[in-house]
Symmetry: C2
Subunit: 182 residues, 2 copies
Amino acid sequence: MHWKINNSEYLFKNHWLTLRADTCEKPDGAIIEPYYVYEFSDWVTAVPFTKDGKIIMIKQYRHALGDISIEIPGGCVDQGDTDLQTACARELLEETGYVFDSYKYLCKTSANPSTNNNLMHIFLAEGGKWQNVQQLDAGEDIEILLLSVDEVKGLLKENKIIQSMHVTALMYAFEKLKLIAF
Amino acid sequence: MHWKINNSEYLFKNHWLTLRADTCEKPDGAIIEPYYVYEFSDWVTAVPFTKDGKIIMIKQYRHALGDISIEIPGGCVDQGDTDLQTACARELLEETGYVFDSYKYLCKTSANPSTNNNLMHIFLAEGGKWQNVQQLDAGEDIEILLLSVDEVKGLLKENKIIQSMHVTALMYAFEKLKLIAF
């Protein structure tokens, strides 16, 4: 089922946007062109629990959708990150100011494998303790929400968590902790 | 928390790619530019059950990720679609050849609200009956899998369903049918 890439051209390659157009050949010889691929570095996120069992959610404006979104923290794997967990811990510290006793890898997911070349790696982070004020990038305004498991389940039931990778993360974290069974 | 758009420029606007670069102004007056937004029409998908309780999953090559993906059927809302359910039924018939007795709206989700301007609308489709051979677009090669609920739960547990909007859809469908509780 895999396609061959006969030609590949970058239309943009800058800090915020890497976009290429491929000419693809299917197994039956048919040519598909252009096929646009959005390139991103891999992403990391965690369902982060504080020591007293609250989930650290964040609330921020997301300009593409044009709306406020209730999410879990995370971000891009950077060049300097030695591994995925280090990248995740760095992002959590920057966005929430918390450090965590333990990380468990839960699963990987894709926002959309037909447009994006990257994966999101998802952790469960436990034993969170506040250490620092947030260290936010320009353009980031992040409000912290400390919510109980029941409050987060309520947000899920009411369809108030709109980012699909974060819904996925919460489901896998709740399954790991036996808070749901699937 | 909302941003103002001071300027907006389309870099691409064709059938497969609509990409704009915004100059944004935050509430504190800070300017963010460029902010790239991928525009798409809204998407529709369903967790589709046959009359005898199998879930109709599809398997296809996804070129951006460069891998085979096990998904549920769906696609874009087209100009000619009168409503979301009609769009969803059209996509399911094209991709699977099945028609359904009933549709229930479950929830909406976003692949990524920081990059995409659109939403995916998710239905539960029940009472599926095979009607036609698939009517696929150029570039679509879709293998049909008829799986039991337990088989799909197994795929979820093994992290074999990689598309986050589809994981979200399955969780909400299973919750609606009381096959999981969250």
